[in-house]
């Protein structure tokens, strides 16, 4: 199982390398409310990495967004593929429009999704250094020495990032290679998701004649995009309020140490409005984006919103609702989401981090007044975040709703070292591989 995952992730890394050589890769953010596709062109040589983490495998590249397209998402619920054909069509639409803008064909795609019930595990491993100096092999062995938890047969590892190394009594190393010591210890952050979700997404992408060159958790990449450097260093949480789910990622020392998601988002707010006001979802969405809010003032009682309808019944079609009522519908749901986030953060021990800042991003974070509500629930250091600025990104795609897509471009250009970037020591392979080959023959012939 693990071996298989290791191989498939390796294959994806190789695909990414091929895409880098081609110089063009597509970014696909499969969200519940929208599917965004960006096309990146890598030009300029790969720079030597700024040394954070263990040191990058691929290095930072100069890149530029040359195509961008967004389409209404269809067939995605809670950030998971729900109706395969619909999702495939939506991906096709986005990819085609982006290709048209870029005037270029892309074959490799790096995707992210928000759902699939991510679960974080903190692992540690320990090994004796062979020789005196820590080498790549030692890192591979110490990562392989981590004891894997039983995370379930129907789940897959999405990220497995070494977040800390300790050599003898010295801890907090980002890169122990070349250092002298005897005992190497590592902390590994493992993020698992439902396997079926990945399989469905893979199938959709494959149906679009695209090759998957990488897969990331949406919570993780929005954290990369919207947390500034000191927040990433000192400890911060990024709350990505998407359409169908709200992703939580906690960063410290420039590594993600925790990720989770609340299976509620902006679509649920819209649903509440739709149910409460008895309007179609499209109208409810429109009302939410135009008049939505969290805090009602006296003025809001007098602001009447015409909610309309087309039944032909005059009384029904001329209904109005005050903005205060609308806020009254929206606020409990937003509060519920934030309470849930609070619970997850508490469970993760967020209050023990040196930095407590919380960054709200994602399309849902655009609700007016959300920051003050969030600061009541989550703590004082709340701010609204927008994704970093990326070269060539169209103005329309710079809002907080594109945090995931922008983060994914950064992820594509400069991926963090994962477990599978290091060679597994040879003794782990041997023995089983021959038996496996025999088994494969038996199964297939």
């Amino acid at each position: 199982m693990m071996r298989q995952l290791y191989q498939s992730q390796r294959a994806m890394r190789n695909m990414r390398k091929a895409a880098m050589q081609r110089g063009v890769v597509a970014i696909l953010d499969v969200g519940t409310s929208k599917i965004a596709c960006l096309i990146l062109r890598f030009d300029g040589p790969e720079r030597t990495p700024a040394n954070d983490g263990v040191g990058s495998m691929a290095g930072q590249s100069q890149f530029r967004v040359i195509g961008a397209a967004t389409t209404r998402s269809r067939g995605v619920r809670f950030g998971e593929v729900d109706a395969m054909q619909e999702t495939e069509r939506a991906i096709r639409t986005a990819v085609q429009a982006a290709q048209k803008m870029a005037n270029l064909r892309v074959d490799h795609v790096i995707a992210c999704f928000s759902g699939a019930r991510p679960r974080s595990y903190g692992l540690d491993g320990q090994t004796a250094v062979q020789g005196t100096i820590v080498t790549d092999q030692d890192i591979g062995r110490v990562l392989a020495a981590c004891e894997l938890p039983d995370y379930g047969a129907d789940r897959e590892v999405l990220h497995a990032q070494p977040i800390n190394f300790a050599l003898d009594h010295r801890s907090g190393m980002s890169d122990p290679r070349g250092q002298i010591g005897q005992q190497l210890t590592t902390d590994l952050h493992l993020l698992t998701v439902d396997a079926s979700v990945i399989e469905n997404l893979l199938y959709c992408i494959k149906r679009c004649d695209l090759e998957l060159a990488g897969l990331a958790s949406s919570a993780y990449v929005s954290g990369i995009a919207s947390l500034v450097e000191d927040e990433q260093e000192l400890g911060a949480a990024c709350i990505d309020m998407g359409g169908g789910s709200t992703g939580i990622s906690v960063f410290i020392r420039k590594h993600m140490i925790y990720a989770d998601s609340v299976r509620m988002g902006g679509d649920h707010v819209t649903g509440d409005i739709s149910m409460g006001l008895k309007v179609p979802m499209a109208t409810a969405e429109r009302i939410k984006t135009f008049y939505g809010g969290i805090f009602a003032t006296g003025m809001d009682d007098r602001e009447m919103i015409e909610i309309g309808g087309d039944t032909g019944d005059w009384e029904r079609d001329r209904r109005t609702v005050s903005r205060a009522e609308l806020i009254g519908i929206m606020r409990p749901r937003v509060e519920e989401i934030l309470e849930d986030v609070r619970a997850r953060l508490d469970a993760a021990g967020f209050q023990h981090l040196p930095g407590q800042s919380i960054v709200l991003t994602g399309g849902g974070s655009q609700i007016p007044g959300l920051d003050s509500l969030a600061s009541r629930i989550l703590g004082q250091q709340v701010r609204l975040g927008r994704p970093l600025r990326v070269q060539g990104l169209p103005q329309a795609a710079t809002g907080p709703a594109f945090a995931g897509a922008v983060g994914l471009t950064l992820f594509a250009a400069h991926p963090q070292d994962e477990w599978w970037d290091f060679e597994v020591p040879a003794e782990k392979y041997s023995g089983k591989s021959f038996r496996k080959a025999v088994k494969w023959f038996k199964d297939n012939w």
């Binding site: 389409t71 209404r72 269809r74 069509r89 939506a90 096709r92 639409t93 990819v95 085609q96 290709q99 048209k100 005037n103 270029l104 064909r105 149906r207 679009c208 004649d209 179609p280 499209a282 109208t283 429109r286 009302i287 135009f290 008049y291 007098r302 602001e303 009447m304 919103i305 015409e306 909610i307 309309g308 109005t320 903005r323």
Partner: protein, 304 residues
């Protein structure tokens, strides 16, 4: 409070017309087609290859028609002709320099250029070849001068000797090439006479011998090449000087020295044989022989 009561009804905020935008997804085949057309190879093929192919196809179909083809060739020919017939390319006169009138006539006869003609139509190389084929011409330079003149600069061969051959008297130049024929010896009395097979190949040697024979020039009739090997100098009164194959000039000079010292050639001698340098021999005529036999005391001949 009154003002509150009389306040106008609050403004209604209309919800903008919600139009569910059509969001058509491309069909799978359309998507694939688009991707194919974005592939560089196909793009080049469609943008460059297809137009070229179309033009080539139309052109070849049009050219396939016989009438069109002849039209094209005749058009090209007429264009070419009109270009070649421009006055700046026309040749109006032929100027032959360095040739005697007879040769000039011969050259003009040979070339047979119908003037005026275009300089494009003249094949100067072949004309030059045919001019230099004339025996009297050593070399020729042909060029079309500015102003439409074909200039033929000829360097003639200069005859240096008369060669009596089976078919008559030939004039030959210093390279041994025949430049013409003369009916009688008297026509070119100024030139020395040579005869015999292979004489023309050693013309330089012959000239050197004639030069060396200056003191007896009035007596020299000519040189005869013997057996394509050596020279006989023939003097009047049927006297002959047999010269060796090697270094004949020195031998001749010895004979002339003898002649000057002892007046040898004036005597009744038929042949002076210098073929063997260490043993020059003379042959007397019969009367002299008889006189010699009857003489008691023989005066030794010098050089014996």
């Amino acid at each position: 409070m009154f003002s509150m009561i009389r306040r106008r009804a609050p403004a209604l905020y209309p919800v903008p017309e919600v139009k569910v935008r059509r969001d058509p997804a491309p069909t799978r085949w359309h998507y694939r087609y688009q991707r194919m057309m974005l592939t560089p190879t196909y793009r080049i093929l469609v943008r460059v290859g297809l137009p070229i192919l179309t033009v080539a196809l139309i052109g070849s179909l049009w050219y396939n028609n016989d009438a069109n083809r002849t039209m094209v060739t005749s058009q090209i020919a007429s264009l070419r002709a009109s270009f070649e017939q421009r006055p700046e390319f026309m040749v109006n006169t032929v100027e032959i320099t360095g040739a005697q009138p007879a040769l000039e006539l011969a050259i003009a006869d040979l070339l047979d250029v119908s003037l005026p003609t275009s300089s494009w139509a003249l094949d100067l190389d072949s004309m030059r070849a045919s001019v230099t084929e004339l025996t009297a011409v050593k070399s020729a330079t042909l060029r079309v001068r500015l102003g439409g003149t074909l200039e033929i600069a000829v360097i003639e061969r200069v005859p240096v000797a008369v060669w009596r051959y089976t078919d008559g008297l030939r004039l030959i130049d210093s390279e041994g090439v025949m430049t013409g024929m003369i009916p009688t010896r008297g026509d070119r009395a100024d030139l020395p006479l040579i005869a015999g097979d292979g004489a023309k190949d050693r013309i330089i040697e012959a000239l050197a011998l004639f030069n060396a024979a200056q003191p007896i020039a009035d007596r020299v009739r000519g040189l005869v090449r013997m057996g394509e090997r050596r020279w006989d100098m023939v003097l009047d009164r049927d006297q002959r000087i047999l010269l060796p194959g090697q270094d004949p000039v020195a031998a001749l000079q010895r004979v002339i020295a003898l002649d000057e010292a002892q007046d040898m050639l004036a005597r009744d001698i038929a042949v002076v044989d210098m073929r063997i340098g260490t043993r020059p021999t003379i042959r007397l005529n019969q009367p002299a022989m008889n006189v010699l036999r009857n003489t008691e005391q023989v005066e030794p001949v010098a050089g014996e």
